[in-house]
Assembly symmetry: C2
Homo-oligomer: 162 residues x 2
């Protein structure tokens, strides 16, 4: 067990859950969004950590698993992050032999990244951690799940735009 996830929010981990929502925030979507997201991420992070996996790997591995070989630039775009932020993740993944890099013959500057068998295995493992986590969220949301996702997607879309 690395110590990476142990960092995540004491207040979300121990019992002191501040039910004290400041009155000014009680009716504020943004506040609840933030608190819910923090709690959700901390839980996922802790679960991944317990399995010795890095939560940050999940998106990258999953995108690779479902899209196949990609350049770092494309991968960044798909993950919604700057390419420079992927460098160290890719380095880590490569050093664990979870991905393989293959030089592109037609452009010597670039290369494509793809999962190794082991990378695929780890991706599955992370997926299973994520699924347990999702199931918890699904249970909590219950019948409201689809509406919840729909509204969240609307928020993401509208707030990113103009």
């Amino acid at each position: 067990m690395t110590k990476s996830a142990a960092k995540v929010s004491v207040s979300a981990r121990n019992g002191e859950t501040d039910d004290h929502v400041p009155a000014a925030f009680r009716d504020v979507i943004g506040y609840h969004l933030r608190v819910a997201q923090e709690a959700s991420f901390a839980a996922f992070s802790a679960a991944a950590d317990k399995a010795g996996l890095k939560p940050g790997w999940y998106t990258v591995l999953t995108v690779l698993a479902e899209t196949g070989p990609l350049t770092p630039t494309d991968l960044g775009r798909r993950c919604g992050r700057d390419r420079s932020t992927l460098t160290s993740t890719l380095k880590g993944l490569a050093s664990q032999q979870l991905i393989a890099r293959e030089r592109k013959p037609e452009d010597q500057r670039s290369y494509s990244v793809q999962l190794t068998a082991e990378g695929f295995r780890i991706q599955q493992q992370l997926r299973s951690v994520a699924r347990d986590h999702d199931r918890r969220l699904d249970e909590i949301a219950g019948r409201d799940k689809h509406l919840l996702i729909e509204v969240l997607a609307r928020i993401a879309k509208s707030m990113s735009g103009p």
Copy 2:
């Protein structure tokens, strides 16, 4: 305009909004939660920044505004953060004369923090930025607002616990 908020997510700011939700995440609450929260926070942050205000001040100032004088430790508890994380914020707020510190006669180790008139003014200003932001979220959520908040609160509560 400081540069604090300029940091927040390019992909959320420019037009490249990845509508490419990876298929594996399309049905996953946690994913949508994260993306929505990022977009929402980035928008608030940008708005606060445009007004020359620090988004991080908002919680602290608001808690002080509605609760009155508090020690740093209590303030941290109310904000759901470790006390040590408040030190630099309090230093900043004090240097701008937005808060005043008052030594406690009964315990010389501690002191209480309260808003100054100027601090109150800034809090109001941030509140107004927040309100504009909230209104946007409210519009997006529409009739689903209350349900959304309820579900988010359930998530926050359940995921923090056991």
